[in-house]
Symmetry: C2
Subunit: 300 residues, 2 copies
Amino acid sequence: MAFTVKATIASFGGKLLKLSHPSSSTGTDMALNVFLPPQALDGKHTKVPVLIYLSGLTCSPDNCSEKGFFQHAAAQRGLAVVYPDTSPARGLNLPGDHDSWDFGEAASFYIDATREPFSSAYRMETYLAKELPDVLFSDAEVVGQYLDGSRVSITGHSMGGHGALTLYLKNPGKYASVSAFAPIANPTQCPWGEKAFAGYLGADNRAEWAKHDATELIKGWKGKDVKMLVDVGTGDNFYKQKQLLPENLEKAAKEAGVKGFQLRYQDGYDHSYYFMASFADDHVNHAAKHLKLPTSKAMF
Amino acid sequence: MAFTVKATIASFGGKLLKLSHPSSSTGTDMALNVFLPPQALDGKHTKVPVLIYLSGLTCSPDNCSEKGFFQHAAAQRGLAVVYPDTSPARGLNLPGDHDSWDFGEAASFYIDATREPFSSAYRMETYLAKELPDVLFSDAEVVGQYLDGSRVSITGHSMGGHGALTLYLKNPGKYASVSAFAPIANPTQCPWGEKAFAGYLGADNRAEWAKHDATELIKGWKGKDVKMLVDVGTGDNFYKQKQLLPENLEKAAKEAGVKGFQLRYQDGYDHSYYFMASFADDHVNHAAKHLKLPTSKAMF
């Protein structure tokens, strides 16, 4: 089988599986968690749609599985949640990938690096957009039998919000919807993004940076209305420090005439999982709506 | 003011306050978290009832605040949640209180120790049953103005389930209801309880142990029907290892003719916060029902 099952944990009437698998994109083992809702396990063999959740800086697949409470609404609506890891570098120990918490391990920014020493392993865009879906949806033995690979939405937090927004905008039609909590919405214009893109893509290569910036990407959006929900807390210090810049994304969407973008400022909320847990139901329901899931009575 | 506010965090439309205060019972500073639901903060000055949550071995007030999901239903029903700490000994460094994870620091068993060196600081029963309510409900400046000290229920997990059950049974009428997740329900008969009671009360003092054992206490219950809900996961290794013994509590309640005790075995669930989060709504709703809270439309 493609996946090694590290743990199976009962959660909200379904099962949370802690998995790992060898990745050809990164050349390393990759960890991920998959929540299967009760509707996937009721014996009727109905495949359920999938919400991919991308974590923020420093996180592993466990943080949001434990603190995000996506499982609550996912169990009600019948949606699987996939929690990939934030980088390939667990234990790789490349030069520079452990020097700070906002670059290298657990800080991939979900792009394919083009600069040494990161370009061979840090290929998270290829991993997330191509390899992981291929492996996940074809693996009949462990999870593929439960998942409908034709119905996928994506969400994420902070760096993972950047990942979700950019993967959505780069791949029109691939995801039914996107949402983000406190995303790094304009990374070419903030310290976190500048540091990451300089390291992974080259400080002298700003033209390439724009291809991985949601605010730049939305200017060239040619698809139908975006299905995009963004929540940002007004008490979020990173928002105040201009690391997130959701206002730039909103302005770019407006100026480009892109419809379907909803930005909500949540009064007093910070950058933490307390914030995410408070609005997790909304984000799951946003995905469930665009994945055409019925609003039937909760199974759990 | 009695409390020092360490942090104020927006959560589910309310506020989670991280507090500390000097305790006369323990002679140390005590940490606690208090969740104020949106109904307490709506400007109408209506005091809300309180659910006290006692944590399990090794935990601080933060674990359940982050992973327990109590705020979700508490915000819907209009219930404050108080998360006390699990012991007085943060930094005390008494002889033996750091030698193992199931005794001493973060392992008080919520009793008043009678043996040295623990008897001066380990006075958690007095702290929880007397001092904390006095301070909490009279402190007008920080939280007391929001809390209705005449309407209180109690719940807990594992060691905290033992604490909740015994405090309820020792103080008829003090709490409107009690519930527990995977409680240590018969500590005089399990290794965890024997170790704790031997250390805090004396190995030669088994008659005293029975006064702090829910299964023994329920045999002498003289009150009305208990309002007692207990959930235990069938996949819980500590249940399998006979550390919890909910079956003994159930048998004792039945033989004593005590009504109102409900024990539910939850298929496949373990001992973790994944288990608690899955049934947190039920436990909050159990308390809310006995606290006579309306089932009005959710504010959040």
